[in-house]
């Protein structure tokens, strides 16, 4: 009897009943193992079911491995399948015991019934145990030659599984060549497809290192293979067709005749019930006709109908993915879709993300003929329950107006929005009216008349307020009360929280001053002095700049601040056309759904959060790389001393220079103030100096006092080696999981993981591993309760962009974990404030 090796691996504490259940199952299995009594199979079936259901729930039933294997001698297929499932799940963790299964699996590989042969072969290959590879070769060789196509399909995939376990064994047995031969000769389409699938994966992985593999890949993409496969495409299953079509899309036809032949052959695939096949076909069509402009155009016409059907008829999941693809096509060739605009009308039940896509498409396809209809539809969304969509649709109306179609009617519509008296509608509309005026100054009279009626008090959103202020400044000659509105805004300077609005206010007052100096003079003085006293650097600088300009020469100032403007002809696009082309090249891939080219979410430097994936698995699974991470953490700690010096140096250097720059800046206002009074009679000297004090004092907020909860004292020098940490981390369950916010200063100081590590060390919390790149860092900390052996283990993921930290705490002593959690949080929130 093999000792239950994994008995030490207790099931997770969250399933306290697990352990007794498992031992109970073991006992019963053992009793049944040798039984040949009638009904034994039924009893086994029930037991196996229970084992599998435990496995599904998450209870570790690996201790029953040897018993399961003993019970596996049966002729009942369902029993066999359950047994294979179990073995496949646990063999990797129990390589020694897995050897026990080899015997019966190999026996089954010679069974009369091809189903059993196939099943056994599949399970054998799914064991994925390194030292059992030798037992795989013979059954695979036999499987590839089996007279049942079912077994051959399984064997073809089995080769790939073998390759992933041991690439050398796979090559030594010359399996790739065998697969290739099979692919080109087998009568069964599924076998051919599976061979192709395996070969593609094997050779693509090797193409980088071996010339031979690169050559083999070339042959796969070569004319003979492609033609051979294309001619059989109708025999293939729909999934195999997708695979093949993907292959074909990389093939470069020699001439136009070939292109037309291919398209004729594949045209009926556009009518396939499976959306994946349709999209794969579309990709082929788009790619092969890339160089033939007129045919490419025709392809668009041809694929339009299938895509629109897919969007409308499929389940919501399918229709979203298709819609994303349609979106990119619409963006590339809006004219071709201009008559199908009704398909992009939003339905009430559409989720928001679908509505958003549809709005973008409606915006893109608007032209002379359909603008009226589209804008009417969009206007109906403005009263939508879904506020974000209502906003989007107003923006869409604005964008269409900027495309120069039927501007007259649209301006009327926009102005009607302003009369709806809904805060968010007014806000969005104001921003749009501003953009419209930049492009079509000729509409200013109509717009100004309506905008003038809007009370600036009713608008809260910074963007909208800034837009209104911009219009007040730009058209102050046409708006009777512009100077007075601006003046009242300046009076409420302190209550204006958004720097953007304050910046706009400064500029608007300046512009107004040039046009209506007597009325604005007072407001300008107040604005400049408030600006100079502003705590926001940009606002301060701009106020100072304006002030000096005015001082130098008012005429020059006018030329700088309010030059005659040309109407904007085209607004800058957010996504460059290069990126759009790139996404288009990756048609029928995830890039389309994300609306980003793949390098943006797959390449290392672009994917911050993905780093952790590897980190996590290292630590969770263990192994050499995990040790690396820990070693590097120790290296970090050694570096800490240097770091300490360098940061403190910086502080010392930084301090005086900052003070210096401050004083140089602030020497100016004292003499400005006196001269400013020429322009602005009210003296601002008092406020200005007050502001300086304030500003100097502002950088140093009161340092929060570090408070330790008295209930928990931590050992200041705990010792825990990485191996034990990993073990404990694997065993314990999360006792506390929280999200904490970092202070602004904390985020600022977290340019490298070391700074936080040092800070936590001061709080008796030690770091064992850390890593990551901005904006994401990941730390593993531990701490020990003073005078006790219980440890606290912490996983802490910090995102500096959102200033948030995800904390997971595991503890030997669950009762103290809450106290520790609050201690950890307070330590974390103090970070950077010292």
């Amino acid at each position: 009897m093999a000792p239950p090796v994994s008995a030490t691996k207790s099931p997770s504490p969250s399933q306290p009943s697990g352990k007794s259940e498992v031992s109970d199952l073991k006992l019963q299995l053992r009793q049944l193992a040798g039984s040949r009594a009638p009904g034994a199979d039924d009893a086994k079936r029930d037991l196996f079911k229970r084992v599998i259901s435990c496995m599904t729930v998450g209870i570790d039933v690996s201790p029953a491995f040897s018993e399961m294997v003993m019970c596996s001698a049966t002729s009942d297929v369902v029993l066999k399948k359950m047994c294979y499932l179990y073995v496949g799940n646990y063999a990797r963790g129990n390589p020694d015991l897995a050897l026990l299964t080899i015997n019966f699996l190999q026996r089954d590989c010679h069974d009369q019934d091809p189903t059993i042969r196939g099943l056994a072969l599949r399970s054998l290959c799914s064991l994925r145990v390194q030292n059992l590879v030798e037992y795989l070769v013979a059954p695979l060789v036999a499987g590839l030659k089996d007279h049942s196509s079912y077994v051959r399909t399984v064997a073809a995939i089995g080769v790939l599984k073998l390759y992933h376990i041991s690439a050398t064994t796979c090559h030594d047995s010359d399996f790739p060549a065998a697969l290739k031969a099979l692919m080109l000769s087998d009568p069964d389409a599924q076998v051919v497809a599976n061979c192709l699938y395996s070969l593609l994966e094997i050779w693509t992985q090797e193409a980088g290192n071996s010339e031979e593999a690169a050559r083999e890949i070339e042959t796969l993409y070569g004319k003979p293979v492609i033609y051979y496969l294309l001619n059989r495409i109708r025999d293939f299953s729909e999934w195999a067709q997708c695979l093949l079509l993907d292959l074909v899309s990389k093939y470069i036809p020699a001439d136009n005749n070939e292109i037309f032949d291919m398209m004729n052959l594949l045209e009926d695939r556009l009518q396939h019930a499976n959306g994946a096949v349709v999209l794969a076909t579309i990709k082929v069509f788009l790619h092969v006709t890339m160089s033939m402009t007129d045919v490419h155009q025709q392809v668009y016409e041809r694929i339009k109908a299938p895509l629109l059907t897919l969007v409308g008829a499929g389940s919501p999941e399918q229709s979203y993915a298709v819609l994303c693809h349609l979106h990119i096509l619409v963006m590339r060739a809006p004219m071709l879709f201009s008559s199908d605009y009704k398909h992009f009308y939003c339905q009430f039940s559409d989720p928001s993300y679908v509505k958003k896509l549809k709005l973008e498409m409606l915006t893109a396809i608007a032209n002379e003929s359909n603008t009226y209809e589209i804008v009417t539809e969009l206007c109906e969304y403005a009263g939508n329950v879904d506020v974000p969509i209502a906003r989007e649709s107003i923006r869409a109306v604005g964008k269409i107006a900027l495309q120069q179609y039927d501007v007259n009617a649209i301006v009327d519509r926009l102005l009607q929005f302003l009369e709806m008296e809904k805060d968010y509608v007014t806000a969005e509309t104001l921003v749009l009216v501003k953009d419209l005026l930049r492009k079509y100054p000729q509409w200013s009279h109509d717009c100004i008349a309506v905008v003038g009626n809007i009370s600036s008090n009713s608008i809260q959103e910074p963007k909208a307020k800034a837009a209104l202020i911009w219009m007040l400044g730009e058209y102050s000659q046409d708006m009777m009360d512009a100077p007075y509105v601006l003046e009242s805004l300046v009076e409420n300077w302190e209550e204006e929280h958004s720097p953007e609005v304050r910046l706009h206010l400064l500029t608007a007052v300046m512009k107004c001053f040039f046009k209506r100096a007597p009325e604005t003079q007072k407001a300008l003085g107040a604005a400049l002095s408030a600006g100079l006293a502003d705590s926001h650097q940009d606002v301060h600088d701009r106020a100072l700049f304006y002030y000096r300009l005015l001082q130098y020469d008012v005429a020059v100032a006018e030329r700088v601040v309010n030059p005659p403007k040309q109407a904007v002809s085209v607004f800058a696009d957010t996504q460059s056309s290069e990126i759009k082309d790139r996404i288009f090249d990756e048609f029928n891939s995830l890039s389309i759904v994300y609306q980003k080219p793949s390098y943006m979410f797959t390449d290392k430097e672009h994917r911050g959060p993905f780093e952790f994936a590897e980190d996590l698995s290292n630590l969770a699974i263990g192994g050499d790389s995990g040790d690396d991470a820990i070693r590097s953490a120790q290296r970090y700690q050694e570096n800490d001393k240097d770091l300490l010096l360098s940061t403190s140096d910086k502080e010392e250097n930084g301090g005086p220079t900052r003070n210096g720059s401050n004083s140089s800046t602030y020497s100016a206002p004292s003499d400005i103030n006196s001269s400013l009074s020429a322009l602005a009679p009210s003296s601002t000297a008092q406020t200005a100096t007050f502001a300086i004090d304030d500003l100097l004092g502002l950088g140093v907020p009161d340092a929060p006092v570090l408070t330790l909860p008295p209930s928990l004292i931590l050992n200041s020098k705990p010792v825990l080696d990485p191996g034990t940490f990993q073990k404990k981390w694997g065993q314990l369950t999360v006792s506390s999981s929280q999200e904490s916010t970092l202070s602004i200063q904390g985020v600022a100081s977290l340019t490298a993981p070391q700074s936080l590590i040092r800070h936590m060390q001061n709080n008796s919390i030690q770091c064992i591993a850390s890593g990551g790149h901005p904006p994401n860092y990941k730390f593993f900390f531990f701490a020990q309760k003073e005078g006790s052996s219980s440890f606290f283990l912490v996983e802490c993921i910090v995102n500096t962009a959102s200033a948030k930290a995800q904390i997971k705490i595991k503890s030997d002593d669950a009762s103290a974990s809450d106290a520790f959690a609050s201690l950890f949080q307070s330590a974390l929130s103090n970070f950077g404030s010292l």
Partner: protein, 423 residues
């Protein structure tokens, strides 16, 4: 390819976990999925129901594809780039097959039959690559838990053989969707035309949009190797069509009829879209007038272009706009319920002969609100048996088969899809 498939219940329980490749996907990915869902429900006013979240998600470790059916979330994980529709189509197919196998689809059924689910998954996908997805073939590899096998078990005391003694012949036949020797054929074939009408009418009563999506469902139980030909009286109506793999493309291209060798049992022969429909069978006139904190609401429903058959199961449904403290709604026909999620449901059934159904009532707004800011959209559901509103008509169905004179049955039905009236 796909690395792992999870079946989750709505309460977050992992009901089935199937690892596909050597790379083990940790279960914690499900926790991430739920966290993501939760954070969405907090950030969105209308709540982050599963149906509201995007089908393709990027977790820190994997790409997740999810399909939601009947309270079950089918979640697939992968780390490699692949055509997005492939996993989505596959998961949808899996859901269809499971529901076909188990009679229905819900949490309890999956839990009771998880052994079957594992077996099916095992045959449907090998190493993350779809293998056998034809329901007919699968049924011969994994016996469905049907009444026959239950009776068999009860009578003989033995479990029926789960797998036929030999391999499904379809796996080797040149028509992969059909077994060469289907059992229990009754020599009959049913053709069912099902259409969904999508329409949108705006405040002024103008039809903004009207589309018909339809499908032809066939239930075939014919012996041997039957060759069927289905032709339409007016195929020019069809704007775009999609076919089951069994349909031969050339006859359709040249002369617009369907020629096919059907699989055994129920399948979707074709789905189609019809263009340019201008008539809708039912109209609704909603009126909302609000002043000084009250909103009077009335909605009148009537038949517009009589389809000639009874309109059944009529129901009107709308979401009460935010900011309403109480609602008092009555109707002269049918029942009005206000559900917990502030959905008002007016079940009408059939339109009575003597009067038009009318809903009326009063909504009381929150103090401080003068008038209603957002107008609700009314969704109408109905069913019309015996007619396909698009006007598509089946001309004839010819069956070439070994046995003589099979029974042929035809049915048609129209349902409301997204059928909405804005107010």
């Amino acid at each position: 390819m796909l690395q792992c498939i999870f079946l989750l219940s709505e309460s977050g329980e992992v009901m089935v976990e199937k690892q596909m490749t050597g790379h083990r996907v940790d279960r914690s990915i499900c926790a991430w999925f739920w966290d993501h869902l939760l954070s969405l429900s907090l950030s969105q006013p209308e709540g982050g129901h599963i149906a509201q979240i995007s089908q393709v998600l990027t977790s820190p470790t994997h790409y997740l594809f999810q399909v939601y059916r009947h309270g079950i979330i089918f979640l697939a994980c992968t780390q490699v780039e692949l055509p997005p529709l492939m996993p989505i189509e596959f998961l949808s197919r899996l859901a269809d097959i499971l529901s076909d196998y188990l009679g229905a689809l819900n949490e309890d059924i999956i839990k009771d039959n998880f052994v079957i689910v594992y077996q099916i998954l095992d045959e449907m996908m090998d190493n993350g690559f779809p293998l056998t997805t034809e329901p007919n073939v699968l049924k011969e590899m994994v016996t469905p838990p049907n009444i026959v096998s239950k009776v068999f078990t009860a009578v003989t005391g033995k479990a029926s053989p789960a797998v036929g003694p030999t391999l499904p012949e379809a796996a080797a036949s040149c028509v992969p969707w059909r077994t060469t020797h289907p059992k229990n054929t009754t020599n009959e074939v049913y053709v069912n035309l099902v259409e969904h009408l999508h329409a949108c009418v705006n405040r002024e009563g103008n039809l903004r949009r009207c589309q018909v999506y339809g499908e032809i469902q066939v239930n075939s139980s014919l012996p041997g190797f039957p060759d069927l030909t289905l032709s339409f009286a007016n195929p020019s109506l069809l704007d775009d069509v999609r076919f089951h793999p069994c349909v031969r493309f050339r006859p359709w291209e040249s002369s617009q009829f369907l020629s096919f060798v059907p699989p055994d049992g129920q399948f979707k022969l074709m789905s189609y879209r019809v263009k340019g429909l201008k008539k809708i069978p039912i109209y609704l006139k909603p009126q909302l007038t609000s002043d000084s904190g009250n909103c009077r609401i009335s909605a009148l429903l009537g038949v517009k272009n009589d389809p000639g058959k009874t309109i059944d199961s009529i129901m009107v449904q709308f979401q009460l706009p935010p900011g309403i403290t109480s609602a008092d709604l009555t109707s002269n026909h049918g029942t009005v319920d206000i559900l917990a999620d502030k959905t008002c449901r007016w079940s009408i059934g059939q339109i009575p002969k003597d009067k038009l159904p009318c809903l009326s009532g009063n909504l009381v707004l929150e103090p401080g609100m003068e008038r209603l800011h957002v107008a609700p959209t009314f969704q109408v559901k109905f069913k019309i048996m015996g007619v396909a509103l698009s006007g598509l008509q089946i001309d004839k169905l010819e069956v070439k088969t070994a046995a003589a004179n099979p029974y042929k049955g035809f049915r048609a039905q129209t349902q409301a899809g997204d059928y909405e009236f804005r107010s």
